[in-house]
Subunit: 199 residues, 2 copies
């Protein structure tokens, strides 16, 4: 059994590896990123990485889950103004995809998850699901407040907001801007607002 | 200059390679697909493939563009019923993503395009853009017929229809069914239909 010093050393190595992986990902393209380079940057042997992870995809996933955990459970603002709150979150999501460093990470994970079902399930359940659920919780509050029709599937409304952003990012079909985010929110609200009551 | 026999032989080899690539893609996972295997199945040398393409991604892209060309310019039905026409096309798109063989191809190309900007532009312009534009043309006819608001950005409406399908397929967050396709069309129509005229 490793003593406390060994455990501390392990944790220090683990943190160095995760930090190195995210740094290198922002500097290089994913196909060029190697376990060797991560090990060199972190100051550990390649074997240390392969002892703990199957490959670079796993390292990056753990780095992201770590970052997510540090932020705590994601939660959307609830100011009472559903449109304003959704614009806040959509602008943030669009900005993440427009940011070269974060986009490189998402690109890397997307490649890995397309080729690995197990990793896909981990990314979905540990990183994405909590974020999508936070949007759903805010929409449900809007439903309770009479701002969203009760007959819509809230999972589909979440996809209506986030799906187009992924599509535009993936296929590079247009700019990722605040205006674009606001336009998506306007369409989603038009799709889900209750019919006007006769005055 | 190659004579007519050499040109015929080349075209026969090219067709055999493209067919072999799509067949193997449906049978194996993309990371396991090799240029060697494509060459063996097509009955050509590996060097023949590398003489004409940079790698497997390029082979698959050309196979798909060939298949698309054979179909001619994509065009949506226009029965006058916008909802019915959009349900027809959305159900077809959702079925493609749900089909294991076609999904494997899309998965492969998506991986390649995430790692290669040049290939991404080719896929977007040669395969996707004509399909997305066909949906846009049908929406514009709906606009002319007073069924779609004139103040909406039709490119965004196309993304509203197709983006959620990509998102659900990419992240494997739910089933890809006719009901799902119909639900998306209902939301998009609600988002874009003109306000009811006072009766």
């Amino acid at each position: 059994m490793p003593g406390p010093n060994a455990a501390r050393r392990n944790e220090r190595s683990r943190r160095a590896i995760l930090t190195a992986a995210l740094e290198l990902l922002a500097e290089t393209s994913y196909p060029d990123l190697t376990v060797e380079a991560i090990a060199a940057r972190a100051g550990v042997g390649k074997q240390t990485i392969y002892r703990w992870w199957r490959g670079k995809g796993g390292v990056i996933l753990e780095a992201l889950v770590d970052a997510t955990d540090a932020d705590g459970e994601p939660r959307l603002p609830d100011t009472g103004d559903l449109g304003a709150d959704l614009r806040t979150v959509l602008r943030a999501i669009v900005a993440e995809f427009a940011d070269p460093r974060l986009s490189a990470t998402t690109r890397a994970l997307t490649i890995e998850t397309l080729a690995d079902d197990t990793l896909a399930a981990q990314v979905r359940d540990q990183i994405l699901r909590p974020q999508l659920d936070a949007v759903k919780v805010r929409l449900r509050a809007g439903q309770d407040a009479g701002q969203v029709r009760t007959d819509v599937d809230l999972d589909q409304v979440v996809e209506l907001l986030v799906g187009p952003v992924y599509h535009r990012w993936l296929l590079r079909t247009g700019p990722l801007t605040d205006d674009y985010a606001d336009g998506l929110v306007a369409l989603a609200l038009a799709a889900t607002s209750p019919p006007e009551r006769p005055g």
